[in-house]
Structures are given as structure tokens and as C-alpha cells.
Subunit: 337 residues, 2 copies
């Protein structure tokens, strides 16, 4: 860069900064307590001289994924990946096709969606072990990427990766523009989410904390080393596992955390318990028309997928966390609308 | 920032960039194969249009700590922390003072350094569990910080944190100036190293991968949540544990990796086995006068602390890793020289 170009850049910067100050960083949010809380938090923690100023290296914000950054109903996308990987698995092991839970999955995929309810937790664990482990890391990554490029959500007929919430994408960008490092802290599989987090959210793999199994280092016949995904759980990144995973993988307490269900409770508590300005927020799915409505908080229908209980709602009110109403706070839900 | 100040900044930037291009990024290195390999690697991977160009988000470099970034002889600093924490522990539990291995540690601290050899691996594990676990994370952090500020290396009479290798500090800065994210990947305790990594190496806590125990989320009497350090190993970040830990915590294969002992072998193999330009380097401690000399590679004295075997040396030569001779490649070892 020569001096003339650098000066031109300087001038552009100045113009950009002025323009930036006049632009709404959260255009998909309606004015209200939620939007106000986010903007005030960012201003308080990033304005030099503010009593709540946070030095840039300490600016950490964590986001649950399913139901917080993208759609989780009627079923978590990764569970759909597990189910839709079964036919490929059965090609290699046809003897399993008549054995439950693999036979149940074939019924589901033939169109009997109600059969999903037959799957127990041990069934899901068996299916997860069979489809997510036992292969080299590189093989899993390629298979997950292929599925993500091809699979579609049945309601919107779009790739799952397009079903992210535009208002939350704006929060991610707004925080990053203000020096925050944004992390995903998900109950979903770390290796799965890392395959699209950078492209979909601008969050690099090293900033994804998720449920993680161990890997095993070994050598191929040609002597090349590789890692194999093992069916051994290292971190169950749900509930208390979220702050424990944050300590393991980040080593600092977040200043802001976003979730939407009881699995996020401990992460929000841990965040809010820190000194200074801390922001804990929960997305409430109360928009049956534009997305889904479930709780059971506030009389919304109960669910097993991403439950937001009344106890969680009451704790939020008591401890100063902010509940985001999808219906009232979000002008737009998806970028494609 | 107004336009005039932005333009002034632009001009300063231009001057800075011009000056930077003429400065040797590795002034403490003698000219030779090692320095050449580092500079060529950086140029090949960061020059637009180079066939070996690496996009900035993928620029990951990993560094072992003990013996690679700072002195590890006669004993790892964290082992000294464990030993020197025993008297404090015995104040709370005086009944342990007459029981081995605690009684052995008291002999060592009274000046009988030879007694260190009496400590077995199970002894060290017992001492580590007693001094590194069972307390709230915040308590451990405060104790480790206090020790690091007060403890001194017996030979140089300086804090351990000043015994970092200036040539390696230059490599860290040079890589970062070229868009690399630098990580520590250490057999040492993750929570311990994170207490000084930012100040000492410019490496933030979230970029420290180390041996890690689990933590347990709980609540104090006033309801405030906190994490307790548990005596349960999650990641033994040595040998195969290094590439496994890199996959867990970073999720990308490094482009450059630096080590100094057999515990780094798998990390260097894994790094070098990637596509494109990959740099694997080993520090050989062959300078008894300015630091220490140990191998047993190349006829150097054998050691149990950071052994560099002849087999590792031969593998390095065969697989194109570069061995750094402390004696020949480093003009200066410490900043305080």
C-alpha cells in the first residue's frame, strides 16, 4: 500500500464510520425492550470511559444454535441427518435392516412420521453411534457436507442452512462489529455444526463448542496419520455441560449469552453471574404463523424438542434476563421472506 | 474518528508498512536452514497467487510450550507449582505432613533436590490432584497467578514467565503479523497456562489447548453459580492426545507446528500430513552453556524431562521436519541477555 492509497483508505474509513453511526444495526427487530437491551449492552461495554467498558480481548458472546439461531422444529436438523444416513449405512450392513431401531427409521423415512415417537433415547443413542462414529474424521465431514447441501426442510422446502433467523444473524454481526468474538455453544454435535458454521453464521470451527466424542489417532496403510471418530462421549454440551464446556474450550465467562430452552439455563445463569454488564437472553417461540409456537411457558403448547418451561420464564424475569418474543420483537424471521 | 484523524492514521499506516517491509522479522535468529524455512513458509502461504497460498481463516499454527517456548529444565514449571503448593495445602490438612508423597515434597523443599527422583508417577498424580483440583476455578486461578508473580527459577533468579525464548517469541509475532492464529498445545495444565499465556505470549486463554480435567457446575450458598475443578482427566494432551486435542478444541489441522520432544511427535506428523505447504519444527536443546543440553538424540545427555530421542531426530530428517539447533540457530536465547 502506498501513501496515497492509504490516505484514500483513511478517507473512506472516515466516511464509512460516519455512515455506520447512522445505520440501524438491527433492522429486522421491532423497537422494544429486547432490541433496546442489546443496543444498550453493546454501547455500555464498548464505549471508552463507560463504567461498564469491557476490554476487547474479554468480549465473548455465546449462542445456543437449535431454536436460537435456526429452526429446531419439528425435529433437530442433526437428528434428521442421523435418520437420513441410515439407508446409506444399511447398504454396508444389510443385516441391520430388519432390526430395531434401524427398521423403525426405514418406516419413518417411507413417510410414517408418527413412527419418530417410537424412538427412545437409547434408540437415538444407538443410531447416533452408528451414523456419527466409527469413521475417519474426513469421511464424516464429507458426508455431513453432502447432506447439508442436498437435504431440505419439509415445510419451507429449503436447505436447513437457510432456516436461520435473520434478527439473530444481525445480532451476531452487530456484536462482531463491536469487537465481540461470537461462539456457538450447542447441544448438537460439535463436528456436525463445524461443517457449516463459518459459511452460515460467520463463526469459524474453532468457535463452535458442542457435544463432542473423543477421536483416536492412528495410521493408514501408507503411513499417513488420521483421526477416527470414537463412540465415546467427552462433553455433553447441554445444561451444566454448557458452562463446563465454555470453561474447557474458551476459558472465559461470556459477557452475553443467548438461548431458547431449559438446556440453556445454566449458561445464562453463569453469564449473568459475572461482574459488570452481562446480557442473558432467551428466544420464545410464540409465532405459530411465521414459525412455530411452543413452551410450555406462557400457555404455549408443550414440546420435547426445545422446551421453554414456565419455571425458566419465571427465572428469567427474576434474574433480569430478557425474553425475546418472536412474534412481537422480530419484524422478519428469515432472510428469504 | 473524524476525517482528518482518519487520514492522519492512513498516512501513519503507509509509513509503518513501508518500514515493516525492510525489517528482519526474526532478528534473534542466525541465517541458516531453520530461519530460511520459516520465512519461506510464511511467504509461500501468505502471498496472493502463490500455489501454496492459505486463506486467512485457515492459518493455524500450534506451539508446544515446555522446552519449545520456555525453559523446562531441570523441572517443568508446573511441577514446581505443584510442589511449592504443598506447604499451603498442609496448613489446611496437617495430618498429611507425615504421609508420602507429601512428606517427600517437604524434604525436597527443604533443599534436598535429589529427593525429586523419589517421586513416582502415581506420587505426582496424587500431588497434582491435591493441588490442582477440588477448589473453585476462581480460587485456583488466583493461587496460580500469585505463585507465577512470586516464584523464581533457581538458576536465573527470575520469574519463570521471563524464561521464554526470544527467537520463538519472534516466530509467534511474525506468524500473527501474517494472519496466523497462534495456539499453545501443551502437555501442561490448560487452566494453569491460561493464567499467563496472554501476558507472556500474546496468546489468549481460548487459544490454549492443554491437559484438562473436568469441572463441575454448582451453586454457592448465596445462589451464585460456580465451577469446581474435578480430579477427572478429560484430555491428556501429550503424544496422540495432541492431534486429538487439536481436533476437539480447534477443529482444523495446523499449517505449522513447533515442538521439542517425543510428546510432540504426533502433532508434527499430523501437521505435516496435510496438503500444501506445512511446516513441522523441533527445538533441539544443544546449548549447555546458554541454556541446557539434552537429547538423547545426537549423543546429547539423556533426560526424563522433554526427551528428544534419536528416533525422533531420524523421523524429522526423513519426513522433512526442520530441527532447530539452539546453539547454532539462535543468536540470543532470552530477552534479558
Amino acid at each position: 500500500m502506498n501513501a496515497v492509497r492509504a490516505i484514500a483508505l483513511g478517507a473512506l474509513l472516515a466516511v464509512g464510520l460516519t455512515a455506520g453511526a447512522q445505520t440501524d444495526p438491527l433492522p429486522s427487530w421491532n423497537d422494544g425492550a429486547a432490541k433496546k437491551a442489546i443496543v444498550e449492552f453493546v454501547q455500555a461495554t464498548t464505549t471508552q470511559g463507560s463504567p461498564k467498558f469491557v476490554p476487547p480481548p474479554e468480549r465473548i458472546a455465546t449462542f445456543d444454535q437449535d431454536g436460537t439461531l435456526w429452526v429446531e422444529h419439528p425435529m433437530y436438523s442433526q437428528v434428521m441427518y442421523i435418520l437420513e444416513s441410515v439407508p446409506g449405512l444399511l447398504k454396508a450392513k444389510p443385516e441391520l435392516a430388519k432390526v430395531a431401531p434401524f427398521s423403525t427409521v426405514l418406516e419413518i423415512l417411507k413417510g410414517d412420521r408418527a413412527a419418530i415417537a417410537k424412538l427412545t433415547m437409547p434408540d437415538l443413542e444407538k443410531l447416533a453411534a452408528a451414523t456419527l462414529t466409527g469413521m475417519p474424521v474426513g469421511t464424516f465431514q464429507a458426508e455431513a457436507k453432502k447432506w447439508l447441501a442436498e437435504a431440505k426442510d419439509p415445510r419451507w422446502k429449503k436447505p436447513y442452512t437457510e432456516l436461520t433467523y435473520l434478527p439473530m444473524q444481525e445480532v451476531l454481526k452487530y456484536l462482531r462489529a463491536n469487537g465481540y468474538k461470537t461462539y456457538i455453544v450447542t447441544g448438537g454435535g460439535q463436528d456436525f455444526v463445524r461443517q457449516y458454521s463459518e459459511k452460515v453464521y460467520g463463526i469459524p470451527p474453532e468457535q463452535v463448542v458442542g457435544t463432542a466424542g473423543s477421536t483416536k489417532y492412528g495410521y493408514a496403510k501408507d503411513g499417513k496419520p488420521f483421526l477416527t471418530k470414537e463412540p465415546k462421549l467427552m462433553l455433553n454440551d447441554n445444561n451444566a455441560g454448557k458452562p463446563e464446556g465454555i470453561h474447557l474450550m474458551i476459558g472465559r465467562r461470556p459477557y452475553a449469552a443467548f438461548g431458547n430452552s431449559t438446556g440453556d439455563k445454566e449458561m445464562l445463569e453463569y453469564t449473568k453471574a459475572g461482574d459488570g454488564a452481562r446480557l442473558s437472553m432467551l428466544v420464545l417461540h410464540d409465532d405459530a404463523k411465521r414459525e412455530y409456537a411452543y413452551g410450555p411457558a406462557q400457555g404455549l403448547p408443550a414440546t420435547k424438542v426445545g422446551a421453554f418451561t414456565q419455571a425458566l420464564y419465571d427465572q428469567a424475569k427474576k434474574q433480569g434476563w430478557i425474553v425475546i418474543s418472536m412474534k412481537d420483537d422480530w419484524k422478519k424471521i428469515f432472510a428469504f421472506e
